[in-house]
Symmetry: C2
Subunit: 132 residues, 2 copies
């Protein structure tokens, strides 16, 4: 699959915007990076599939409410683009504060993006625990 | 995203072929359903990312060598297609025999497919444990 450099760059920026929204713990910012559609899907580490706008956004609201601080460093991001669909695999290196507990862990992620009116939006996030 | 019914059907058949190859525990059959490319990626439940043909196929060979029997029933398969790229999310309901241990568990999967010369081939499999 030949991915133009400019497309790959734009998708990686959308991937970065998703993680910045994640770190912000701001549900409105998170809503801004997703495709506004009931076609969106999300699998959080250890969770079953969530489908559609309401289910996915409620899950982020719940995660944000229960997190005092979330720091995400992304490594090994790898992107492939075909027309208006793209997918990224990357490793999330997470430092999370929930209550008084600080934890550090890694999550392996697959993210799917769709291009609408020139903008790449995330439409599927699948995160899974590494190890454990 | 508007997915023609015929495309969705062909992708779901490729998804089914992938799971039939998985059940067969036959590495040659598994090789036959993947895109022959170093662009392929694979995340087994709890594993880190595997990249490229050799790494991905060695992992399947290892899983097959260590499995006496594997039965996969797929539920909630959901497909989206854009041009020559497609992704499926589905739940794998697995009965596995390793040594004398029989276990039953569910895996949430995201599978990405590419169309080459009219044939859909899997190019990324991401499986993650549900619960636990």
């Amino acid at each position: 699959m030949t991915t133009p450099f400019s497309d790959a760059k734009a998708v990686l920026e959308a991937n970065q915007a998703f993680y910045k929204a994640f770190e912000s713990l701001d549900i409105q910012r998170m809503e801004g990076v997703w495709l506004h559609s009931d076609e969106i899907r999300c699998v959080h580490p250890g969770w079953a599939l969530l489908s559609g706008w309401d289910e996915v956004m409620q899950s982020w609201a719940r995660i944000f409410e229960n997190s005092a601080l979330m720091q995400l460093r992304i490594s090994d991001a790898d992107v492939q683009v075909s027309a208006d669909l793209a997918w990224v695999v990357c490793t999330e290196n997470i430092t999370s504060v929930v209550g008084s507990n600080v934890s550090q862990f890694q999550v392996q992620a697959t993210n799917v993006f769709a291009r609408r009116k020139g903008q790449w939006r995330i439409m599927h996030h699948h995160g899974s625990p590494i190890g454990g």
